[in-house]
């Protein structure tokens, strides 16, 4: 399981690096084509926008594992009620992710025949990133809930 998580994270990181690199590269290419060659390409903006959504959702998953999501950080770390409250709020977050993931899946299944404007890809493909990233994120949130609860039971046992 740990090695599965390790490889999922490595692959996700590779997609993040490639994703942002390609966004920058195609947009620089587009500037070159537009202002130097005076002939803009039809696809760079669309590709970059799709990649932006992809890195945003996959980054959402990675940010859970690294505790990098923007949040207020002000409560005492080791108090038991605080940890229980955190676990509760993370449970709600998991519910939100499940709802959006499901919605994304429904969107994707209904969009196989809708091609995107420039790349002529089925719109379903970019939509599929939502259920995928939400599923991964739920696993990461579950791990965070476990950590919060386990630490809280440990701190309760400790004198």
């Amino acid at each position: 399981m740990t090695s599965l998580a390790f490889w999922v994270n490595r692959i996700t990181d590779a997609i993040l690096v490639l994703g942002i690199a390609v966004i920058a590269a195609v947009l620089v290419t587009q500037v070159f084509c537009r202002y130097v060659l005076h002939a803009a390409l039809p696809w760079p903006e669309e590709l970059a926008q799709i990649l932006l959504v992809v890195i945003s959702f996959l980054g959402m998953y990675r940010a859970f594992g690294k505790d990098q999501h923007i949040r207020i950080d002000w409560l005492p770390k080791h108090s038991r009620p605080v940890r229980l409250l955190r676990a509760l709020s993370l449970l709600l977050v998991a519910g939100f992710l499940a709802y959006i993931g499901l919605g994304g899946w429904w969107l994707a299944t209904g969009a196989w025949d809708q091609p995107t404007t420039a790349l002529r890809l089925p719109t379903a493909i970019p939509y599929l990133i939502m259920p995928l990233a939400c599923l991964l994120s739920i696993a990461a949130v579950a791990a965070a809930i476990r950590t919060a609860l386990m630490a809280s039971s440990r701190s309760a046992k400790a004198p």
Binding site: E45, I70, L75, I100, L102, Y127
Partner: protein
């Protein structure tokens, strides 16, 4: 009724450290479901649409460019250069702090990123030359608020989403207000450091004058690319960001040779992660704004304001106070995406130029970035300097006064924001 419940839920979720994006998303969803609006697919569609925008592409690009430059060692070069220029006068390092912040603002669009990057250099440096850590920390975060006001600005890229304002026009509108804040801060430094002994600052041993200038010049060219490119619509903001990225890559990898391939991959990954954490807030805030629109909150707020007064100055003072309050509790991105769709139409009804209003809102929220209990920059500088938030806040008290004076000038003198974009022909 539903709105009141949702707001209460939001306060609770934020208080128990729920990530801002999901606190906002959960509340929007709760409101929509209780009201019987929308379904899972519609909610997912709204979130996707909120992210899928050409203008937002500037976000990862500006973040990447900023991170590339920091990895390339730009901060030390800028600080050395500033030390050379203003380091020898009384209170030298305090000015160096502000000048470095100003120069960094020209290539970076994020106050928090600047606080982290500059704070880790400036705070120990000022401490070693006899300034108190609290003063150094307070000054660093006060200078850092210039970053999103002077172009490039991540906040302006976000602001353009609900308002459809020209990012280029906002970029130009922010220049003079940013310089005004800088000028007022330097006046404060002159006063605060009047008894500071003059120390032999200036130049790091072993670095020639020529070398320091030569090091800084390529960095100082970067803002020219952005401002020059965006002027008159030669580039869109996104294109300017792409060019800035290419330039930053050239500086870091070719000119300074500061980063190898592994380091580069790390910079790219970190930039993607930062982008993602902001983008998720953008997506769920879009959901929240949808809920507010369904509940007709903007219309209710307009009616409320008009019932209080039909004087625009009264409206502006209420907005100032309200946003200072909001800024104390809420992160800048959701604050903009939630409140601007409500406040902007009212501002326009009162005859306030939307570009001017955007600068008022941004400066207002930037002051909030440095205020307890919840000020992102305050958290960052507290962890860098090792001082408590309370101690830094005490040192910040006079600086709040300076920032409030700047805010009032920017709010009530539209000329400061509007002259430059008008002169550049970006707005009427």
């Amino acid at each position: 009724m539903i709105t009141a419940l949702v707001v209460l839920l939001l306060v609770f979720l934020l208080a128990v450290e729920t990530p801002v994006a999901f606190a906002v998303g959960l509340c929007a969803l709760a409101g929509l479901l209780i009201g019987g609006f929308g379904n899972a697919a519609a909610a997912a569609q709204r979130m996707y649409a909120g992210m899928n925008s050409y203008g937002l592409l500037a976000l990862p690009l500006f973040i990447l460019a900023g991170n590339l430059l920091v990895a390339g060692g730009v901060i030390q070069r800028l600080v050395d250069f500033a030390d050379l220029v203003v380091g020898r006068i009384r209170g030298g390092l305090a000015y160096v702090n502000l000048v470095s912040n100003l120069m960094m603002a020209g290539v970076s669009g994020s106050a928090t990123a600047d606080t982290a990057a500059l704070g880790s250099v400036m705070v120990p440096m000022m401490r070693s030359r006899g300034y108190t850590t609290d003063f150094a920390a307070a000054l660093t975060i006060s200078g850092a608020i210039i970053a999103p006001i002077i172009p490039p600005s991540l906040i302006m890229v976000i602001y353009a989403i609900p308002t459809r304002l020209s990012i280029g026009a906002m970029f130009f509108a922010g220049i003079l207000p940013g310089l005004l804040i800088f000028a007022l801060l330097t006046l404060y430094v002159a006063y605060a450091c009047r008894n500071q002994p003059v120390l032999e600052g200036g130049r790091r041993p072993g670095r020639s004058l020529f070398r320091s200038i030569l090091d800084a010049v390529p960095i100082l060219v970067a803002p020219v690319i952005i401002v020059g490119g965006v002027r008159g619509g030669v580039f869109t903001a996104t294109e300017a960001a792409a060019v800035l990225c290419a330039y930053a890559l050239f500086l870091t990898c070719v000119l300074y040779r500061a980063v190898d391939l592994t380091g580069l991959a790390k910079v790219f990954r970190d930039s993607a992660l930062t982008t993602a954490t902001v983008m998720i807030v953008v997506a769920t805030s879009t959901l929240f704004a949808w809920f507010l629109a369904i509940e007709s909150i903007p219309q209710a707020v307009t009616a409320l304001f008009l019932s209080i007064s039909d004087n625009r100055y009264v409206f502006l003072i209420i907005v100032n106070i309200f946003l200072l309050f909001v800024g104390c509790f809420l992160d800048t991105v959701p604050a903009i995406l939630i409140f601007v769709p409500i406040l902007q139409p009212v501002a326009v009804k009162f005859g306030i130029d939307p570009i001017h209003f955007s600068i008022i809102v941004i400066v207002n929220l930037m002051v909030g970035l440095n205020t307890p209990p919840i000020g992102t920059n305050l958290f960052v500088i507290s962890s860098i300097s090792g001082r408590s938030m309370a101690a830094i806040t005490r040192a910040l008290l006079p600086l709040y006064t300076v920032k409030i004076v700047a805010l009032l000038l920017i709010t009530y003198v539209p000329f400061i924001s509007l002259w430059l974009p008008r002169a550049a022909g970006l707005i009427r």
